[in-house]
Assembly symmetry: C2
Homo-oligomer: 336 residues x 2
Amino acid sequence: MEDTNRSWYFVERPAGEPDADCFELRAADVPEPAEGELLVRVEYLSVDPYMRGRMRDSESYAEPWDVGDVLSGGVVGEVIESKSDQYDAGDLVTGEGTWAEYSVLDAGDVAPVDPEIADPPAYLGVLGMPGRTAYFGLLDVGDPNPGDTVVVSGAAGAVGSVVGQIAKLNGCRVVGFAGSDEKIRWLTDDLGFDAAVNYKATDDYGAALEEVAPGGVDVYYDNVGGPITDAVFTKLNLDARVAVCGQIAHYNAESVPTGPRKLPQLIAPRATVQGFLVGDYATRFEEASEQLAAWVASGEIDHRETVVEGLENAPDAFLGLFSGDNVGKQVVRVAE
Amino acid sequence: MEDTNRSWYFVERPAGEPDADCFELRAADVPEPAEGELLVRVEYLSVDPYMRGRMRDSESYAEPWDVGDVLSGGVVGEVIESKSDQYDAGDLVTGEGTWAEYSVLDAGDVAPVDPEIADPPAYLGVLGMPGRTAYFGLLDVGDPNPGDTVVVSGAAGAVGSVVGQIAKLNGCRVVGFAGSDEKIRWLTDDLGFDAAVNYKATDDYGAALEEVAPGGVDVYYDNVGGPITDAVFTKLNLDARVAVCGQIAHYNAESVPTGPRKLPQLIAPRATVQGFLVGDYATRFEEASEQLAAWVASGEIDHRETVVEGLENAPDAFLGLFSGDNVGKQVVRVAE
């Protein structure tokens, strides 16, 4: 092909909050797929909070990016050239690609996109990694029972919004914390949350929680950490489960954050707190994807994507995650 | 009976560290057992860290003491008068009694003491509630596998010393934190711990841990909390389990203690942190008691009691728990 391919490179490790200096847009030749690979024209790319961890120069659950790497992440796009018999040119697929106009994906790691079930960007959200994270984190780690009160932080995000709806489908009372009145309305009016707290409109989270969850908390699905989590830990019921999915409030911390100690609070309720990673459920991804697709197709699970236009705005879309700019899944539209 | 009965009363709630003002020794008539009860002459009584929680004016896992109550706790003693056909005068028994010379116990709640298996005070330690706490907390919550590195805080206490030995019997590598060279020697020379750290001889617990547990921590049995726990949380291995038994470092705190946030540290290792109470295992107490008695009888589990002489010194024995005066189980000898 004659085209050039613009891609975002990771050029500087951030100290604290990342900014535009961490990213550089460069043009290069469109890559060639090798045997078993697909050349994909990227239509949508995903920016996710966990990527902040990849910017650190230390081993974590996601492999760190090296300075000079092309940034990677989930994409949806059209197969332009296939070196695999699994897919043909013209197919819509999703998988792990790059922040770029064209990306080479391993055919064995991609999944087909069916626009009849949902618009393509949903495959980066409710029908992608965030949806599966919600599914396994809530059902396997949170283990909700009908009648349980489930509290979700980051409730209007890609993961939290799905968590709350799955909890409702399981007969739970669901309370969300989110950061704008628009988000609160979405949660309660559209998604069926029983109550939601705009944490930017109060600083007494304990009182807010007492109001919306007077019977205490049976399951806490935590995407955020910080003072919301501090309040929830004072209200854990007997045998409460806390699923630690993310701690976005602390991702940009330059030193180890401090706060109220939580271990003393676990003894009386015999509570269990568990960190988890969706990747550990890889052998069950199909189960989750099928169930989520069924719920989306039937309308039992609603979803929303916040779309930033243009590859050139991908860093801004990523940085906006930390100020809560997104409602639902944050994606970048790279091409039609 | 003509005798008087001296008993310790709880006369003032402490703010922060309790002191002698909280306790008052009063004389009264020896109580009369009702039907189904036993009058017991107390030989040994138990003082335990969890009792600090009963001094608070708030619901917790142990019912709070009211100001004016006789202090209660585990005792070993001789049945003086039996109103039950389960026990006869002269029998040695253990159960929940009072800080007193004579105590009335419910025959249905006591267990016989067999001095052939161990000296009577051991029935307040390894063969009593602390031993069962070690047994269930390690085996059920910690769930150790052979080859695991198990770290125990408060390792030379009544619970910790048993935890470490059960872990050794399960093929683990065992590391203890304790507060004196004498305790360290006991752990490593007599109890078979692989290593032990005198936390009063260093303030770099991270470096100390790196030395004694270079491969990280698979199971952490926490009796203490605070900076030792902070260090351990930085070294949790994949799928690590943390059993939160006690947090004695914080029991006297007058406000909510703060420290490094731990939830962000749980995600990469997918660690599980669980609070528990031994009372929840009541239906399996017999299993634990039989196993512990067998291990003690065979010499596979060693034990030690620190004996304070005289009922009048019971408050000091209790207060000494918070400065780590005891090696093994702290008991008070009330009578021969």
